[in-house]
Assembly symmetry: C2
DNA sequence: GGTCACCTCGCTATTTATGGGGAGTGTAAA
DNA sequence: TTTACACTCCCCATAAATAGCGAGGTGACC
């Protein structure tokens, strides 16, 4: 695991190819998921499959992406919900493009609501795959962790996030708004006038460069400034 | 690491005490953090310190909690920002109550915006602590992972979360609202009338049991239903 | 001792969101 | 095939948020 020494984005691609060989699996993939689709992805899938995946918006219906969202521990693909018609079609398409019939995906969550997946996929029977998971689970978890650390390091957007810290009152305000209070209720809870409250919302909105209250709350949640 | 076999909440307390001895550190703590303060916590700190921590709202100013929020990899306490007056006072208070002068905290994030910390703390010089981190980092990461998995298993609130899945249009609506669009802009983006859009917002709000749009967006973000 | 950020309060007008009703289409699962 | 549910559109009245103005007191840091 000399991953820790790699330093550039292109290195990650090389490393993941080496890892695939070390673990003796057909494919190994890391991809970072957000609203705009994959933000960063490296892996050993065929380029045609990756392109097809993006073009067809498979990320919106891929049971792996959806299922892992609700999980914390590594997820064996066979325990996901493949029952819907769209899911089965996707599965057939994937296998036809060289993706293994077996897979293990590890959800990874970082600061600012980051969500990524680290996946190993292979073509084999259930028993063989179960043995593989049993043997390699811990190493794969660590690998996913270190891979994501590298991805975060390489992420260019982190400069802007350092921006303006919010004051305690602003954070309280956004937190209460996030749990559904309206401005009058928040003002009452904080024992201040609604006018004062509005100043906090406005200044928080300004600091977060948010377009409205909902955006400010969403941004604060996304950056991990508040928790609900 | 027979943690994987433990099954009850009370077991976790026993396990963490054993782990403290295995790793030869003064303290080891796991705590799950949210807006209402700690939701679940086990560890080896003195009960007086835990009570004091909660009573004084230290969770709002603890540099460990705040600093780890922005990080993914394990964080050595000495690299956190202890410069503010409140932070330094907190640090003195903590050390006076038996918390070590050294510490390593691992941020853990799970589904539905879960945020937890796994911490090892000790009283020793910098060099000794650096060696400890170097040797045990990987094991501690795995330990944090498995500990959180157990905590999630024991969490009673998970039933209600399975509730109503949102439709694609509802998810698109909430996503666009979360990135700051107002209803008119969202409607235009989705090429539907603003009236129709309102139906989505309303039904999403209903499904999420949210009190208003901001709450619905916050809840969806929190549950990991949308990503921005 | 001055500066700066934070906290607090006030006004008016305009824009935007919410609540509650009804109604027709299509696709997909049972 | 029938039953769902998602998707689309419309009206009206009220509640809430936003934009723009201003102003004084407190505490921390240099």
């Amino acid at each position: 695991m000399a991953l820790e020494t790699s330093s550039a984005l292109s290195d990650l691609q090389t490393v993941i190819e080496q890892l695939r060989d070390v673990f003796h699996v057909d494919h190994m993939v890391y991809h970072w998921v957000n609203a705009k689709g994959a933000r960063l992805g490296v892996g050993t899938y065929a380029p045609e499959w990756v392109q097809r995946y993006v073009e067809r918006g498979y990320i919106r219906l891929d049971p792996v992406v959806i299922g892992c969202f609700q999980k914390f521990h590594p997820v064996d693909w066979k325990f996901l919900d493949w029952s819907s018609k769209a899911s089965r079609e996707f599965q057939h398409d994937a296998i036809a493009h060289g993706v293994g019939n077996q897979g293990l995906s590890i959800p990874i969550r970082g600061p600012h609501g980051q969500y990524a997946l680290f996946t190993a996929s292979h073509n084999c029977d259930d028993a063989t795959w179960a043995d593989f998971i049993e043997d390699q689970r811990r190493d794969l978890i660590l690998l996913a962790h270190y891979f994501n650390e590298k991805a975060l390091d390489l992420e260019p957007d982190k400069i802007q996030d350092a921006a303006q810290p919010l004051s305690p009152r602003e954070l309280e305000t956004l937190t209460l708004l996030a749990i559904g209070y309206n401005r009058a209720q928040v003002a009452q809870t904080l024992s201040i006038s609604e006018h004062t409250l509005r100043v906090y919302v406005e200044s928080a909105r300004f600091k977060l460069s948010a377009l409205n209250t909902t955006h400010a709350v969403a941004t604060a949640l996304n950056r991990g400034l508040i928790v609900i």
